[in-house]
Amino acid sequence: MKKARLILQDGSEFEGYSFGAEHSVAGELCFYTAMTGYPESLTDPSYRGQILVPTYPMIGNYGVPADEKVDGISRFFESEKIWCQALIISDYSEQFSHWDSARSLGTWLKQQDVPGICGIDTRVLTQKLRDNGAMLGKIVFEGEDVEMADPNRRNLVAEVSTKEIRTYGNGSKKVLMVDCGMKNNILRCLLKYDVTVKRVPWDYDFRGEEYDGLFISNGPGDPSICTETIEHIRWALQQDKPIMGICLGNQLMAIAAGAKTYKLKYGHRGHNVPVRKVGTHSCLITSQNHGFAIDDKTLPAEWEPMFVNLNDGTNEGVRHRTKPFFSAQFHPEASSGPVDSMLLFNEYVKSL
């Protein structure tokens, strides 16, 4: 295996071995604590621009499934491609074992031209990111240096959002999906109900559209960059049609309502994040992947926090006090992760 170096913003270096595409890349490092779900995470558009570090040491065990489609949606993946910059792990399983796997993780990374480095002490790396906060970094192959690059300055949403308008399903209620980097499982979850989903680009002006409900998807990066989306949502908030948002959608809805967001020190990425429904004893284990959060204190009077993070007290969702608008910072669609909060889709569809 070819050697490669991981160099961080603070100058620290780690040496590892390449098992993916062999070219140098730069991005923002972030760790996630989920123990399963690397095919789903790698294809999650929210990871655009980032170098992923799973804390679980053995990755690749069950290989990667084939590129199959069901009703026009990828059967196993969250989008059509790998979005993150690179993957950094401790121990790589070239040999894999699973009934639905078609190739090794390394083969897939190579097919998608994404570097993968193993042999790194990911626990040390995680502790570093935890203590210093999110950091830029780069993977360097011998003789091919690249510049550090901060993806958060780019409009990542524009990079990952759909370029065309597409319609899914044939149900009686029409959901307008603003795709800011949507995970396929949001579609799959909605299409279990009697709905038709119209998927539009992040900056699509839907103000003249007819729809029964609006949906703001997850997506990468800093929400404040999506000014067009925010403006459109601000209009929708004046209407009475139900709105649900997830992750970036949660932040966009809050900003549109007048609240502010901020960057978390190192974000929440994993399958074990506990949230509580505000005002109740009802708690959920959620799947999360975000680096920004809503500042609760800036919520306008007609809005209230809906969920709160049990670990650090940060906002995990908001809702309008009177209108059918709510959003979750976590991922009720799971995939990857626990499915405890999937019932939120039910609530949304019922309100249509």
Binding site: F31, M35, T36, P57, R123, V124, G270, I285, S335
Partner: protein
């Protein structure tokens, strides 16, 4: 409305047995800690005197009493608790709780069940009810359907699909059972099965499916989490207790992981768990089809493992949930800054490997399968599977050095792979040697390819290492890779250094030096439940080579004291050493020092990170202890509280310059080395039974002619696997040694003179610089010949001559002085007519230290630890002759789990656990103690069978038989015994021997439960008698009729229950015995 709970009764699990081991000491201790934290008054019933939970300060009132509805009711009547906890004492406590509920006792005394309601427990215990409930929520179970015709059988299969298992109902031993893959096979097998039984059971065959477990926690607000999932390395068909298990699952996709997680939560909600439960699944390796196999609505072996694997204290949390807390209201005890409502994220992998001791039993099958036979387990932690499994295989302690570099012989490899035993892992290595491919191995074993690939990685490195002839030639990268794959220095030395004259130990040391000079040293990582996401001050540690930096810094201030734990529970080394280790830790901390524990047994309290200042959940090998000493720079190491494993390390550690606290390593070596110890005894004028280590049959005959029969022979265990035994005649001697290889130059046999009808007496003591500071003398009820770990032990000794006691003290003093003992020790004696001989001396805590400490209420280990840490102590002043009560320790056997094993006691230990009870007198203590290990007072509606063996035991039992007759019991006896009894005026009904065709036959009477106690005294004589005796004993075990095979114990038990009515037995807690 929940009533206010102030006083809670907790049921323990009693003696350790196969399937119910030390894990319940851990869960009970955690529960009691949780209750204590709430300021509640706690009452504990548990006769297991060797546990930590029955120690001072854990519960307010401790009852050493049987966990049976009768005794528990009397405690309830006396204590009037508000609540009772049933989930922390295994199946024993659960069954007892269900019985108390069904008899209306809980209702009568208004005792509320804390945690999961009894009805929910009943619903999960009843297979039918459980299956219906699962059906109702759309969850698939592995349920069998009963049919009475071939047509119905075919109909069932059309619903569930092939392959299926067909079993004939109401037959034993699998008569008429088998697999069918199509209609034709089913027709054939069903026809045959119907000839045995009117009804057959059809079940979907899940052979070869993956076995997966989830630990679910639910609170009263309906919040649920799964703390951990675990995957079995071995496919379905091998009991999870017999399987290698890994956590988290390795081969499940995210979809499968969360599908099963969701179902587990759905089930916990439907059942109504408040606390913890475990859900076991079968998962199809070729699709996402699954079946629920079972659910345990209580803390279990798996939950203890999950707690240790994740750092999430399941039992503690479950207890708090029972009291009405929500998960979000309980703190994460590792991070201290987050709540208990979360799911641990692991950044390491753990392996659990069972430990078997089947070599100790005659006749038992070594195959592992659907019933549990293992007696203990280990858990290993690594950052790769390779690292964890190799560590784990060493930890099991059965001679393996890891996956490779072993000297295991497997006579028929193909057979072994098809019919797994405890040798299946070394068999896989041999298969690689023989060129088996992964596909072939998977086809035969059904072990998932991923595990096999990983084993093959280890194997590949073996070949690479073996290609070199010297350490210097091995590339640094390969050496590092080997260490990252869990290779020990020993394995590397063995594979690389081909010099046969060099000792393995020296090779290992050389590897150590070379790799240290290359900077190849391990790092320490924390188990923090959050994979490093949040800072944690956790002291729960493991060691890995797959890391760049340690998580923690070491003070190296000379204030750390390392205590070596006892490793896997096994026959002969069990929870008693866990108690000793924990007692040492407590004392170290009390003295203002830092207590560091090294141990790897997930079933213990000593591996609870709450207990010590730092816990290294890692190997107890020289290499690893030295690694830890390198980092910690400790004040010293305590090797005397963890049984034989640390004791064996003493000399090796000492030679590496590690400070062994207490008695010197040289003295330990003298006591351990048979020759050196005998020389010392000779010098001191102390008698021992005559013995010789012999290498030729002729020498053995000569020695036997000199000392006379019987003799005790101890073949080299590793080679023959043959147990130690007493032989009474030349035939037996030759039979036992007939395998010529058993006796050879390299593998001598130790032959020892055997004294008949000698009493066995033990002294447990603590000395400082050779002067005894406290001691306890106890005696065995059985004569010598029954292993001290199987014997019934009385303390204070009740029936010894003063002269004997004087001699014991004198001898012990002489030995303590000669070995300059500073710490705990134990000497076993034979006493006959005031003659005293020393059998054995251990310069460490013995099995009976918790027993004598609890009966005397003086902590022997506490004092020993003070001495080892250099504090001057005053002799313990109280004379044990003044103790106004009696403690009796009885042994628990697990023969019911060991199909076909002869339930007989000998000089090798067979018991898996023990209890001790206290009484105001000898017979009261004995009765409570015997009832605690599964005996019962025989019903007068039934009878007692006496089959009393040799003439001597017939005489020994005569008085007891008379007592039984006087008390109105009906006696049955086999021919010879009946004649003897008749001659002596005792009436009995003759039952014919098993092999005779005559009726009434003894086996029929046992099977029909006409007999409620079997006394069968084995007699070493003709093969026919041996065979008949075996059948009687085995029938007693198989039909659950209490069995006693020792005449002295039988007599003592009989007089005890003839003299005491159960209702008259005193119900007193520990502190009430003054």
């Amino acid at each position: 409305m929940q009533k206010e709970l102030k006083k809670i009764l907790v049921l323990g699990s009693g003696a350790l047995k196969i399937g119910e081991s030390g894990e319940f000491d851990y869960s009970g201790s955690q529960a009691l800690k949780a209750l204590h934290e709430e300021g509640l008054f706690t009452i504990l019933i548990n006769p297991n005197v060797a546990t930590v939970q029955t120690s001072e300060g854990i519960a307010d009132h401790i009852y050493y009493l049987p966990i049976t509805p009768e005794f528990v009711e009397r405690v309830i009547e006396k204590e009037r608790p508000d609540g009772i906890m049933l989930a922390f004492g295994g199946q024993t406590a659960l069954n007892c709780g269900v019985a108390l509920h069904e008899r209306g006792i809980l209702e009568k005394y208004d005792v509320q069940v804390v945690g999961t309601p009894v009805q929910a427990i009943i619903n999960t215990e009843d297979r039918e009810l459980f299956a219906d409930m699962m059906k109702e929520i759309g969850v698939k179970t592995a349920q069998s359907e009963a049919v009475s015709s071939i047509e119905d059988a075919l109909k069932v299969v059309s619903e569930i699909g092939y392959p299926v298992i067909v079993r004939a109902a109401y037959t034993l031993g699998g008569l008429g059972s088998g697999f069918c893959s199509n209609d034709e096979e089913l027709r054939r097998l069903a026809a045959s099965a119907f000839s045995y039984s009117p009804q057959i059971l059809i079940e979907k065959s899940l052979k070869g499916w993956k076995e997966i477990e989830y630990e679910v926690v639910r609170d009263k607000y309906d919040n649920c989490i799964t703390v951990c999932n675990m995957e079995n390395f071995d496919p379905l068909g091998i009991h999870t207790g017999e399987s290698v298990v890994v956590a988290p699952s390795q081969t499940l996709s995210d979809h499968e992981y969360h599908m099963l997680r969701e179902i587990a939560i759905k089930i916990a909600r439907r059942v109504g768990i408040v606390g913890e439960c475990n859900v076991q699944y079968a998962l199809d390796p070729n699709s996402d089809d699954y079946r629920v196999i079972e659910l345990n609505a209580r803390l279990s072996r798996s939950s203890a493992l999950a707690s240790k694997a994740t750092g999430y204290p399941l039992a503690f949390v479950a207890a708090k949930l029972g009291l009405g807390y929500g998960l979000d209201e309980i703190q994460n005890s590792v991070t201290k800054c987050t709540s208990a409502f979360f799911e641990p994220a692991l950044d390491y992998v753990v392996c659990k490997i069972p430990r078997w001791d089947l070599g100790k039993f005659d006749g038992v099958s070594k195959l592992i399968g659907s019933s549990m036979k293992s007696v203990g387990e280990i858990m290993s932690i690594g950052r790769t599977f390779e690292e964890a499994i190799q560590k784990g295989l060493r930890m099991v302690g059965q001679g393996l050095h890891g996956f490779v570099a072993n000297t295991v012989k497997v006579p028929d490899l193909e057979y072994e792979l098809n019919n797994p035993t405890d040798k299946r892992l070394p068999a896989i290595e041999l298969a690689f040697d023989q060129g088996y491919t992964i596909e072939q191995l998977h086809e035969i074993t059904k072990i998932d390819n991923w595990f096999l690939f990983r084993l093959q990685n280890i194997y590949r490195v073996k070949l690479e290492l073996a290609a070199y002839d010297s350490l210097e030639a091995v590339p640094e990268a390969l050496l590092r890779e080997a260490k990252q794959m869990g290779y020990s220095d020993y394995q590397i030395g063995k594979l690389v250094i081909k010099d046969e004259t060099m000792k393995p130990h020296d090779k290992s040391q050389m590897v150590r030096e070379v790799r240290k000079s290359l900077g190849i040293v391990p790092v320490v990582k924390q188990i923090d439940t959050m994979a490093g996401e949040y800072p944690a001050q956790t002291n729960y540690l493991y060691i890995t080579y797959n890391g760049a930096r340690s998580d923690i810094d070491f003070a190296c201030d000379g204030k750390s004291v390392i205590v070596l734990g006892s490793g896997a529970y096994r026959i002969g080394s069990s929870v008693e050493f866990d108690w000793c280790g924990v007692a040492a830790i407590k004392k170290i901390q009390e003295m203002g020092l830092r207590a560091i524990m090294i141990n790897y047994n997930p079933e213990t309290v000593s591996t609870d990170y709450d207990i010590c200042d730092r816990l290294f959940f890692d190997e107890l090998t020289l290499e690893r202890v030295l690694d830890i000493c390198d980092m910690e720079q400790p004040k010293g190491v305590i090797v005397s509280t963890g049984g034989q494993i640390p004791n064996n390390l003493a000399l090796l550690l000492d030679r590496q310059g590690i400070n062994i606290l207490g008695t010197s390593a040289t003295s330990i070596d003298i006591a351990e080395d048979r020759q050196k110890f005998s020389q010392m005894c000779d010098r001191l004028g102390i008698d021992q039974p005559r013995w010789k280590e012999l290498t030729k049959m002729e020498e053995i005959y000569d020695f036997v002619a000199e000392v006379g029969l019987p003799v005790m022979i101890r073949p080299s265990y590793v080679l023959s696997g043959a147990a130690m035994r007493v032989v009474e005649n030349m035939d037996e001697l030759e039979n036992a040694l007939k395998n010529a290889a058993v006796v050879s130059q390299e593998h001598p046999v130790v032959v020892t003179e055997f004294l008949q009808r000698a009493k066995e007496v033990e002294i447990d003591a603590v000395a400082q610089r050779g002067e005894i500071k406290c001691y306890a003398i106890s005696e065995h009820i059985e004569y010598a010949g029954v292993h001290s770990g199987d014997a019934t032990v009385v303390f204070p000794a009740q029936k010894l001559y003063f002269e004997t006691i004087r001699r014991i003290k004198r001898t012990a003093r002489a030995i303590a002085q000669a070995l300059n003992i500073s710490g705990p020790f134990n000497i076993q004696f034979l006493a006959k007519d005031n003659e005293l001989r020393v059998i054995e001396c251990n310069l460490r805590a013995s099995r009976s230290f918790p027993f004598v400490s609890k009966i005397t209420k003086f902590n022997f280990i506490g004092m020993a630890t003070e001495i080892m840490l250099g504090k001057e102590v005053e002799p313990f002043g109280k004379s044990f002759a003044d103790i106004d009560y009696v403690g009796i320790k009885s042994s628990q056997f697990s023969f019911a789990r060991l199909l076909k094993a002869d339930p007989i006691l000998g000089v090798d230990m067979a018991s898996t656990g023990e209890v001790a009870c206290i009484g105001d007198n000898y017979s009261e203590a004995l009765l409570k103690s015997m009832l605690s290990v599964g005996h019962r007072v025989p019903s007068k509606d039934k009878g007692i069978l006496i089959s009393s063996g040799a003439a001597r035991s017939k005489v020994e039992l005569l008085d007891a038989a008379r007592e039984l007759q006087a008390a109105g019991y009906r006696l049955y006896a086999t021919g010879g015994t009946a004649a003897f009894l008749a001659q002596n005026g005792v009436e009995s009904t003759v039952l014919h021997w098993p092999d005779s065709q005559s009726k009434p036959n003894v086996i029929d009477s046992i099977r029909n439960h006409e007999i409620d106690l079997v006394i069968n005294i084995p007699k070493n004589s003709t093969p026919r008698e041996l065979q008949n005796g075996y059948q009687i004993r085995r029938a007693a075990i198989d039909y659950n009729v209490p069995l006693i095979t020792n005449a002295r114990l039988a007599s003592a038990f009989i007089s005890a229950f003839c003299r005491h009515e159960l209702a008259d037995l005193e119900i007193k807690h520990w502190a009430e015995y003054k």
